[in-house]
Amino acid sequence: MTMATGLVDAPLKAKAKRFGFLRQAWDHRFDYLYVLPAIVVMLIVIAYPIYYTVELSFFTTPPSLQLRDKEFVGIDNYGLILSSDVFWRVTANTFIWTLASTAFAFTLGLGSALALNHEFLGRGVLRAILIIPWVISAVAASYIWKWIYHSDFGLIGAVLVGLGLAERPPNLIDSVGTVLPSLIVVNVWREFPFAMIMLTAGLQTVPDQLLRAAKVDGAGAWQRFWHVTFPHLQGVSTVTILLLAVSNFNSFIIPWIMTGGGPSNASHIWITHIYELAFGRQRWGIASAYSVLLFLTLMTLGYFYVRALSSAENKERVA
C-alpha cells in the first residue's frame, strides 16, 4: 500500500489496512470453501462447548442438568476447588504422571529408534512388534495389565514368588505407594512406540555424509550421536515431547479402567477427577470450573506447542 505517512491519521490508516485484509479475503473467497466444512464442524463441537463450560463454571446446576434451574454462584466453584485437599493431591499426581510418562516414553522410544537404525535380520518384524502396543485400544491394554498386576493370580506376582523374591504376590495397584508407578508402566508401554516412530523418521534426515565425515574426523559412536545425530533430532524431539506431554496430561482410560482413581485418590489425575465430579457425582459447576482451570493450564502448554510447531514450520520454509 503506498500512502504518504504523516498526511493520513492513524485511525484512517488502520481502516485502510482492515479494508486491505477484507479485500484480500474477498479475493480468496473461494479458497475458504475448501476449509469451510472442517471449520463448521469444529465450531459446533469445540467453540460452543468451550463457551458453555466457562458459563457453567459460574453456576450451580442441579444433578439432572436442567439448565433452567441453574443458579449463579460467582467464583464459588473455583474457591471450593482451590481450597480442597483433593485438588492438590490430584494436581501432584497429574504432574508426576505427565512428567514420568513423557520422560520414559521418550527415552525408550529414542533408544529403540537408535537401536533399530541399522540393518539386521528381522528388523522389520521387531519394529512391527514394538509398535503394536500403540495400536491396540487403551481399554484392552488396561485389562491386559490389570490381569498382569492381579493381586492373587497376576503374572508379576507369580514371577516374583517363583523367583523367591516375594513371599506372596504384591498388591501393586491396590496400594497407595505403588499404584501410580504401576500405571505409568502401562502408559509408557502404550506410548513409547509413538516416540519411536517419530524419532525413526527424524533419524532418516540425518545426512549420511555428515556421519561419515565425523567418522573420518575420528569421532566415536557417542560423539557422532552427540554432535551430529542429536542436533538433527532436536526439531522432531521437541514436537514429540510436546505431543506426548499433552496426551499424557489428557490421559483418562488407563487410570479410569484400572483403578478408577483409587485407592484413596492415589491414582486420580485431573481428567479422571473431573469426569468423576461431573458424571459420577453430578457436580456440574465444579467440574466445569475444573475444566476451565485445566483449559488455562493447557493454553499455557499450547503456547509453547504452537511456538515449537511454527518454528519447525519456519525452518522448513527456509530449507
Binding site: V35, Y52, L56, Y143, W147, H150, F153, G202, V236
Partner: protein, 292 residues
C-alpha cells in the same frame, strides 16, 4: 580416539560396544512389549479355573478355545452382545472414517496450497484442538447432543470422532500435498484442466497413500475410543466394543480368559489393518513433523 570402549571378539574383530548395548536394549524392549501380549493370548486359551492358579500354568495344560467360542456364538447372550458391539464399532468407525476423509481432503489441500488471509491462524486453530482433552468438552457436548437429540445414537459418536480426529487427519494429509509438486497442477491447468479437474484428475490419485493413511488413522482412533462412547451411550444394544466389554466384565469380574479373549478380538482388526498398511501410516505420521 573416541570415548567408545572397544571390545575384541575371539576372531580379533573389534565390535562396537554401543551396538551390543543396543542389542541388549532391544531384547529388553521386546520383552516389555511382547510379554503382556503373549500373556493375554495364553490366558485367553485357558479355562477360568486354569487361569486362577498359584503358581500359574505358564503354558496352559489343556488349551481351549471355549472363551472365543462363547464370544462368537450368536446363540447365547454373551455372543449376541459381543457380536453386536463388534458391528456397532465397525459401523461407527467406518462412517467416521468416510466422513473424515471427505472433510479433511479439501481442507488439507487448501492449507497446503492456498495463501489466503487467516490461513495460518486457521491451521493452528485446527492443531490446537489436539491440545484439549475430551473431558473438557464432555459436559457441554452432552448438553449439545441432548439438544440435537443425538444422545444414545451412533450419530453423536460419529460427529464427535470426526471433530476430534480432523486436526491430525488434516495435518497428515497436508504433509502429503506439500510433497506433490505444484507444477503438476500448473501443467494440468495449462493442458486444459480447470482447478477442480486438476485436483481430481492429477492430485487425488497421487495422494492416495496419504488418504489411506488418514483413513487408517481415523478408523483406529474411532475403533479404540472410549470416553465419549461411555458417556453418550446407555443402551446395551448401541455400545461399541471398548465400553461394551467394560460393561460386560464389570459384571463378570473373574472371567479372565473371557476378558483376555475379548481384548484380543477387539485388538485384532486394528492390529491387522495397521500391520498391512503401516508403511503408509508411519510415513504420513512423520511427514508433518519431519521434512526430508
Amino acid at each position: 580416539m573416541s570415548m567408545t570402549s572397544i571390545v575384541t571378539t575371539r576372531r580379533g574383530k573389534p565390535i562396537d560396544a554401543w551396538r551390543w548395548i543396543g542389542r541388549i536394549f532391544l531384547v529388553m524392549m521386546l520383552f516389555y512389549t511382547a510379554v503382556p501380549m503373549a500373556w493375554m493370548l495364553l490366558t485367553s486359551i485357558k479355562s477360568g479355573f486354569a487361569a486362577m492358579q498359584l503358581p500359574p500354568q505358564w503354558l496352559p495344560n489343556e488349551p481351549t478355545l471355549a472363551s472365543y467360542k462363547k464370544l462368537l456364538d450368536p446363540n447365547n447372550s454373551v455372543g449376541q452382545d459381543f457380536l453386536r458391539f463388534f458391528w456397532n464399532s465397525l459401523f461407527v468407525s467406518t462412517m467416521t472414517t468416510a466422513l473424515a476423509v471427505i472433510v479433511a481432503v479439501p481442507a488439507a489441500y487448501a492449507f497446503s496450497r492456498f495463501d489466503f488471509p487467516g490461513r495460518k491462524f486457521l491451521f493452528f486453530a485446527v492443531l490446537l484442538r489436539n491440545m484439549f482433552p475430551a473431558v473438557i468438552f464432555l459436559v457441554p457436548l452432552f448438553i449439545l447432543m441432548r439438544l440435537l437429540g443425538l444422545v444414545n445414537t451412533h450419530g453423536s459418536l460419529i460427529l464427535t470422532y470426526l471433530t476430534f480426529g480432523l486436526p491430525l487427519a488434516i495435518w497428515l494429509l497436508k504433509g502429503f500435498y506439500d510433497n506433490i509438486p505444484y507444477q503438476l497442477e500448473q501443467a494440468a491447468r495449462i493442458d486444459g484442466a480447470t482447478r477442480f479437474q486438476a485436483f481430481v484428475l492429477i492430485v487425488m490419485p497421487l495422494s492416495a497413500p496419504g488418504i489411506v493413511a488418514t483413513a487408517i488413522y481415523s478408523f483406529i482412533g474411532a475403533w479404540n475410543e472410549y470416553i465419549f462412547a461411555y458417556t453418550f451411550l446407555n443402551k446395551n444394544e448401541q455400545l461399541t466394543l471398548p465400553v461394551g466389554i467394560q460393561r460386560f466384565f464389570s459384571e463378570n469380574t473373574t472371567d479372565f480368559p473371557g476378558l483376555m479373549a475379548a481384548s484380543f478380538m477387539m485388538s485384532l482388526p486394528v492390529v491387522v489393518l495397521f500391520l498391512l498398511l503401516q508403511r503408509y501410516f508411519v510415513r504420513a505420521l512423520t511427514e508433518g513433523a519431519v521434512k526430508h
